[in-house]
Assembly symmetry: C2
Homo-oligomer: 396 residues x 2
């Protein structure tokens, strides 16, 4: 139990009301800060992004757009059409531009793919990112493949295929690494699934967190986007918000069969990339930017894995093994996540994700994102103080 103070209970009430208005997603930081101006949010550990990469983007942004005055063009004029920007990305990814559809964040693309290409029945793993079932429009049906908590929500390809055989969906969704648990299915496992699901209309693979996963000591980038030529039912969805730390810009893309890209372009999606997102995608294709980004990516992975390891040393929690930039954490003692989240928020200014509303999770789960090393240490210290020493309780 955590004994919340009067002030903390008031904040808890405000947060609860705000959450009720925000559906199955967290309110934005700006909305949260406006709702509880009395609390200064110091670390947003709800927010899943690489802050080192944000720094690199901002350096370029300042030097190339602000100092030159080119920012006016970015804001005033129409950005290029979807396919013009896809050509830049094509260079960076080494994939044909005609297989790339640019999006206003991955969110728009999840919507586009589900609305335009899914048939009658969509199978989604649980736990998951809620948009994958929320965006499915009736009368289309959603079925779930529930991952096992006692195996760290690990996805077993054979079990998955068996479930597909029973449920007979036309569309399946695999988030890899998965959100909210960070579970990662290695490339060979993905290939096995793709080879066995050629008869489906769609295999949607969301690789928004793939830049944080690794299978070798060099942290080489993995991913299945290059397999679209081989598997025409494969749709790879990719957000830029997490790995590049630019959620405010809204940038993402899908890689899918050229005729699907063409269908989407013919019925919309022409002007959906903003001037700043266009600037970002042009940067993405540049070697100088990529070199700096790769350093930031690897440094962040190391810090994140170190953070997750340090979390496992707190006995009061169980940490789910993660290849993403966040860790799903279960409280093992008598504390409630909602109280812990408020204590972290009010006493330390740390915002975390209470997973109470996440389908497929039983028990007291919270999700912690890895931030900078300094911030990770601050989070660790706060957790230790509340969960182990509980100094604030004694003061009450």
């Amino acid at each position: 139990m955590i004994n919340l103070t009067e002030t903390e209970r008031t904040v808890a009430q405000k947060v609860q009301e705000l959450k009720a208005r925000s559906g199955s997603h967290s309110p934005s930081l700006i909305t949260l800060q406006e709702t509880i101006p009395e609390v200064e949010i110091k670390v947003d550990a709800c927010f899943l992004s690489n802050p080192y990469a944000t720094g690199i983007f901002l350096d370029y942004f300042k030097r190339e757009l602000l100092e030159t005055g080119h920012i006016r063009n970015c804001l005033e004029f129409y950005p290029s059409q979807n396919q013009v920007i896809a050509e830049h990305l094509s260079e960076a990814l080494g994939l044909p531009a005609k297989q790339i559809l640019m999006g206003n964040g991955a969110s728009e693309l999840i919507q586009a793919v589900l609305h335009n290409f899914s048939g009658e029945k969509v199978l989604v793993n649980l736990p998951t990112f809620s948009s994958y079932y929320e965006f499915v429009q009736p009368p289309k049906q959603i079925v779930f493949n529930v991952l096992n908590e006692h195996e760290d929500f690990k996805l077993h390809p054979e079990q998955f295929l068996e479930k597909v055989g029973i449920e007979r969906p036309d569309t399946v969704v695999i988030i890899n690494p998965n959100n909210p648990d960070g579970g990662y299915l290695p490339y060979e496992g993905m290939l096995f699934i793709l080879n066995n699901l050629k008869h489906l209309q769609n295999v949607i693979v969301d690789e928004s967190f793939i830049h944080f996963a690794f299978e070798d000591n060099n942290f080489s980038l993995k991913g299945v986007a290059a397999l679209v030529s081989q598997f025409p039912n494969l749709v790879v969805v990719k957000s830029m918000s997490k790995d590049f730390g630019i959620a405010g810009i809204r940038a993402g893309y899908t890689v899918m069969a050229a005729e699907r890209v063409e269908y989407c372009l013919k019925h919309g999606f022409l002007w959906n990339v903003s001037g700043l997102a266009e600037y970002f995608f042009r940067l993405y294709a540049r070697k100088d930017f990529w070199k700096k980004y790769e350093e930031a990516r690897i440094c962040y992975i190391k810090d994140a894995q170190e953070f997750f390891h340090a979390l496992t040393e707190i006995e009061e929690i169980k940490v789910v093994s993660s290849m993403a930039n966040f860790a799903l954490v279960k409280i093992l003692n008598d504390m409630r996540v909602k109280d812990l989240a408020i204590a972290l928020l009010v006493r330390y200014g740390i915002h975390v994700r209470d997973c109470a509303d996440k389908k497929g999770l039983q028990g007291e789960y919270l999700r912690l994102s890895a931030r900078t090393k300094t911030e990770n240490d601050y989070i660790l210290n706060a957790l230790r103080e509340i969960l182990v020493s509980r100094p604030f309780e004694w003061e009450c």
Copy 2:
């Protein structure tokens, strides 16, 4: 006839190839400039926006985001959810937030409305903004109401209703003022149509250019968005790119029945507004910003109308009467629009919209947008030189 030089013919070839890749829309300025680096584009008279308003936005942007460092939050973190931003706009518009769906530019909303709410048959006036027929997905059908060139493409409510009676569409689209001719149907005419089309599923009214139309000497803002409560089949689409001069940000909204907004929010559209667009919509609700914007709007209307009037004094062209920020112009002599457009581009750095690909236009039409007073004068001078004195022809 305009005799193009060798260089001009090469540019013409490049522009033609680029246009072929851009479909029924113009390529972006950045793409155009990259395709013909040998030409310096000085005035983008293809681009339909108020440059004075851009200036006002940029002043705020510099003072409040750049100088304070708040820009990082705008780019790094997730912006607020759709409805949180709709609440700010609700204040500014004096309309219920639950009737407002925010969009990533009007383009996303045209798509959302046509894909989700149109039935079997959509009626669109011609000429029009091509997205309104391109975004309609088969097997849905498009029918056209062809406006009369000899009446300046004026929309007659009775004739429109008669056409609806014959074609029996479930959805009609009215762009007011219309693009590409600038024709304006006054409020009373719109009300008459709405009253007579209560039986349709959708009356889509695109008011993206409404801030440039006026019915009194004070240039008071008109529009039908407030009528959504009275006409549940009314959907008002609004871009922010034209009046506020911020096309690069991608910002727009629709006003429509609350249950339609709710349906869209339940199946996507949660995170479609960027951090900069959120900042803009917060500005929009502020009186200090609005006051400056209103001054810029009225100044721009006066300059635009003066520009259109000056155009009518060139005998070689016919200028269609416009209440938008552009004028559709027909060449009456033996010159071809495609040659004129290239001559303006290469000799003067002026980019204009050749309307050859616009359905419903017969003859040599180009569209000229009103820019700053200085730029308008520059355009006028260039047109006079080419159309009247033709100094470059004599030199050849």
